[in-house]
């Protein structure tokens, strides 16, 4: 007797097998329907995000609704180009032959999304999976329950139920899903769960994309340029830390590296900007999300419990357990072996680490595992080159924060402990496709030396052929070369 979960998945397999998702017209209709879903339900989406995370409509539009609309529109405009086979060059030796690479859907795919950007991280991979012609099971995170309910209720109203399904539930549902065979698993979340997902995928040889996290640093070297650049730097750091879901983002700035002598300048600029953006203190806090739940709240509060860490707080530090709010907090040089400096913070606490010389930031970053992104505020081209060649991260963004997420032409993904695989733009389409090689050959001409019995002549012929030494081949055939 099949459970309802297994029946759903069987239906997805059947739909895929019958070719229900192959046609470009089907894919386009689903993408258009998704766009309609977003356009017609904006207010409900804003409401759900406010309920789960305290996000304001502007933040929700900037980080979720707008991103998704842009993604669908871009995919719709490029889909025909992406689906077309690509010609591959064939050497003269194989004449007449034609070679091409044709993208094909993988089949039935599973998408796990995270709670911090519950719409973007669920629907952006979904856009990729549908555009590539797969059937999909989406498992949103139950830690953002209003958003999850919205997706469960609303997606069936707009998309093809036989091909796209949404399943509500918690970790236990996730575990059950992982026991089954999928043609691809796309996971956004923590490295710990990433390991479990990959281990489960290994049993079925299912390829995976893991979008994980890490401690994304911001190197600050622009404070002694001009006052306006210093101000913009501060704005972008503040915007890149507390702007996205109050620091609960895989690409949020985790910590800052700055030269000792500029630390106080930086802190003053940050304080001013924080006050202007978010209010003077925790009572008047506005324009900022809250912590998702008690568990995360307690985890963050615990990071500040260490007396040496608490001592290093230079701004903020107040918390409101009832409202699940922690005000923007800056720490100056907390102990490097403290938890706040070894774990991914994923919250509104910003350690500033001072260095004698800003170039030391490279070694500092390399002493930790590869982050998802390195932010570097600098105008020194030599330093930029060093950062690029001497550090490793998913992405490097110079002189800004967060915006790389909006670039459809840049692959978005990690390396090492921050994950593997990538998406956004065409990379989303590719991540859910198999690139099938195809070679067309004619019956003529025939190259006799391919066939046994083997002789020295055939050996020499093939050696020359493999070197594409056409002249040598002619000589051999004319009898001017000896075997």
């Amino acid at each position: 007797m099949l459970s309802s979960m297994e029946k759903s998945i069987a239906e997805l397999r059947e739909t895929f097998k019958n070719g229900g998702t192959k046609s470009i017209s089907w894919r386009k209709s689903q993408l258009k329907a998704l766009l309609q879903l977003i356009n017609q339900n904006e207010d409900s989406i804003f409401k759900a995000l406010d309920q789960d995370l305290g996000k304001s409509p502007v933040e929700s539009y900037r980080d979720e609704v707008g991103v998704l609309k842009k993604s669908v529109t871009y995919t719709l405009s490029c889909l025909e180009k992406w689906v077309a086979p690509k010609k591959a060059e064939v050497p003269l030796l194989f004449f007449p032959a034609k070679a091409e690479v044709m993208p094909q859907p993988l089949g039935v795919v599973l998408i796990f999304s995270s709670w911090n950007f519950p719409f973007t991280l669920a629907l952006d991979p979904l856009i990729g999976a549908i555009s590539a012609g797969n059937t999909v099971l989406l498992k949103p995170s139950d830690l953002a329950p209003a958003c999850m309910s919205f997706l469960v209720e609303t997606i069936p109203k707009y998309l093809d139920n036989k091909a796209v399904k949404v399943l509500a539930g918690g970790a236990d549902i996730g575990e059950r899903l992982l026991q089954l065979k999928w043609d691809k698993i796309f996971f956004t979340g923590s490295p710990r769960v990433g390991r479990l997902v990959m281990a489960a995928a290994a049993k079925h040889l299912t390829p995976v994309t893991l979008e994980l996290g890490g401690k994304s640093p911001a190197i600050v070297d622009t404070l002694s340029t001009t006052p306006s650049k210093a101000k913009v730097t501060a704005k972008r750091i503040v915007g890149g830390k507390w702007g996205p879901c109050t620091g609960q983002a895989c690409i949020a700035i985790d910590y800052v590296l700055v030269e000792e002598k500029l630390a106080s300048t930086l802190i003053e600029l940050l304080k001013k900007t924080i006050k202007r953006f978010y209010g003077e203190n925790i009572k008047s806090l506005k324009n900022i999300s809250r912590i998702v739940n008690k568990h995360q709240f307690q985890r963050l509060v615990n990071l500040l419990k260490d007396p040496n860490v608490a001592d290093s707080i230079v701004y903020g530090g107040s918390v409101d357990e009832e409202k699940l709010v922690i005000e923007p907090t800056i720490l100056l040089d907390p102990p490097l072996d403290s938890e706040i400096m070894s774990e991914e913070i994923f919250g509104p606490l910003l350690p500033i680490i001072t260095l004698k010389n800003i170039e030391e930031s490279i070694n500092f970053i390399n002493s930790k595992s590869n982050p998802l992104v390195i932010y570097a505020f600098t105008e020194d081209d030599t330093f930029k080159k060093r950062i690029l060649s001497e550090t490793s991260s998913g992405t490097v963004t110079f002189n800004d924060s967060m915006v790389q997420f909006l670039c459809d032409s840049l692959p978005f993904g990690g390396v090492g402990q921050s994950g593997f695989g990538r998406y956004h733009g065409k990379y989303s389409f590719d991540t859910f496709s198999h690139e099938k090689s195809i070679m067309h050959r004619g019956f003529y001409p025939e190259i006799e030396p391919r066939y046994p019995p083997w002789t020295d002549f055939k050996l020499l012929f093939l050696k020359l052929a493999y070197q594409f030494d056409y002249f040598g081949l002619i000589l051999l055939l004319l009898g001017f070369k000896r075997s």
């Binding site: 900037r62 893991l210 490793s392 002189n399 099938k436 019956f443 019995p453």
Partner: protein, 490 residues
């Protein structure tokens, strides 16, 4: 730690740990990143193939009785090409790739930079022990990594030769060979690698991927499957037959991941096909194929027993229409064809990897697609036909790593085509630039300036900003103007 039997130190977890530590230290010096280092290593590989060809051919003959031509062409010549291609193109491959930016991030510029992953592990197979060890290494070196190669113990002469040659020709501080069997492989798999490329079977692949999962190591799996050949009527039968033979018995006597595994053809056409096979097989291998020097042997007695079992199954043993002779002592089985095998026989459900070719019959050629799709996705699928519509349906319907129409196996030699599987036949791909990419991290880089700081990004969040953001995302200049003038809805 030494064993009592030999005076050779045992390679255990501690040794593997030390090995990785040493390679990480070498990688950290930045040595492997330099273009010069990569070029030196690749050129050394070409030299190695040229200078040591007789030894390589001899080792392959020891391990597999591989005919000299197969060794020279399918292992050595192919490898030389691979290295030369990398030498020629590496500078270009290493260059950053410009990426477009849009209005949303204006003004900015973007690029994608290739960087090495770090310390990588290549585990290769026994059937093309040189090719499958060194071809992945071309990519790993070109991409700037430090490397450990674990050749297959089932081809011991080549494993030993590889260990010696790599130590002699390449930079041993960055490229090492670890010989051994299951315990040594297990010790290696416990370590953290930045990438693992495994060539082999599905059972071991699951073990490799599970080990990789512990360290979040990305993998490329080059596996196998049952590569079908659909043979339609109305074709040049002689050419088709010869090409199937070349791909089957001409490739290590069927012990190759992309060898035609089985044939699907119409009931009415089968006899003609079989007759053609008989004729061409005799032309190629003589009246007594057990004596032919142009066929590899079966690699060892385990595989010999496995193949014998496939032939001896009751429902199949009566279906042999050609060959079937065996020489257990010399590990030889003659090219064998079976006609009209049942769908549920072992030989139609396990990857054969040997010189047995079952022919499965259908009423009409279109029925072949269902037969293929009812099994797991193979590494390759082949079709011989002159019908345009059939070719189109084949390409659209059959999911496999790669497809070839009117030939077999040749796509392997085409470096502009990615070589890899899908589903049970594997994940990831390599060859040509795909090898370089397989061992690289493609780092996204965005350059921004300080001019035009878009105030809409920052709090305080107002309805006006919402309207502007909408317009910005829509990419509409007019919309932005209207929003700025306060004319659009928030």
């Amino acid at each position: 730690m030494t064993s009592e039997v030999e005076n050779k130190p045992v390679f255990c977890t501690e040794s593997a740990k030390e090995l990785v530590k040493e390679l990480r230290a070498s990688f950290a010096t930045g040595k492997t990143k330099s273009y010069e280092w990569r070029l030196t290593q690749l050129n050394a590989m070409v030299k190695m193939m040229e200078e040591k060809e007789p030894q390589i051919v001899a080792a392959l003959h020891d391990d597999l009785s591989k005919p000299e031509l197969e060794s020279s062409i399918y292992e050595i010549a192919m490898l030389k090409n691979s290295f030369r291609l990398a030498v020629k193109n590496m500078k270009h491959w290493m260059m950053p790739e410009k990426a477009k930016t849009s209005l949303v991030t204006f003004p900015s510029s973007a690029e994608i930079v290739s960087e090495p992953l770090g310390v990588v592990l290549v585990i290769s197979a026994w059937n093309y022990p040189f090719l499958l060890s060194l071809d992945p290494i071309v990519g790993a070196i070109a991409a700037g990594n430090a490397i450990v190669l674990k050749p297959s113990e089932i081809a011991p002469a080549t494993s030993l030769l590889l260990a010696r040659l790599v130590a002699e020709y390449l930079d041993s501080s960055c490229i090492k060979v670890v010989e051994g069997a299951v315990p040594e492989t297990a010790a290696l798999l416990e370590q953290k690698w930045d990438k693992i490329l495994y060539t082999g079977n599905g059972r071991v692949a699951r073990i490799v991927m599970a080990a990789a999962a512990k360290h979040l190591t990305p993998v490329v799996m080059e596996l196998g499957g049952k590569c079908p050949v659909i043979v339609d009527s109305d074709i040049n039968l002689q050419v088709a037959t010869r090409r199937i033979i070349a791909g089957k018995w001409g490739c290590n006597n069927g012990q190759a991941c992309i060898s035609p595994d089985y044939i699907i053809t119409m009931k009415d056409y089968a006899q003609k096909l079989i007759d053609s096979f008989k004729c061409e097989l005799e032309r190629f291998y003589g009246k007594d194929p057990l004596e032919s020097k142009d066929l590899s042997r079966i690699v060892n007695s385990n595989h010999f027993a496995r193949l014998s079992k496939l032939l001896d199954e009751d429902k199949v043993s009566s279906k042999i229409v050609h060959g079937g002779e065996r020489d257990k002592e010399n590990l030889k089985i003659t090219p064998t064809i079976l006609l009209d095998v049942p769908r549920d026989s072992l030989i139609m459900n396990e990857e054969i990897f040997g010189p047995l070719l079952p022919v499965f019959l259908v009423d009409k050629v279109e029925d072949s697609f269902d037969v293929i799709n009812s099994g797991t996705k193979p590494l390759a699928a082949y079709l011989f036909t002159n019908k345009k519509k059939l070719k189109e349906k084949f390409v659209a319907t059959v999911s496999a790593g790669g497809l070839v129409i009117n030939d077999t196996t040749v796509h392997l030699a085409e470096p502009t085509l990615p070589f890899g599987g899908v589903g049970d036949s594997g994940m990831g791909a390599y060859h040509g630039k795909f090898s370089f990419d397989a061992f690289s991290h493609k780092k996204a880089v965005l350059y921004r300036g300080f001019a035009c700081d878009a105030f809409v990004r920052y709090p305080p969040y107002t309805r006006g900003k919402l309207g502007l953001l909408r317009a910005l995302f829509d990419g509409s200049i007019l919309g932005i103007i209207r929003a700025l003038l306060g004319w659009s809805k928030a």
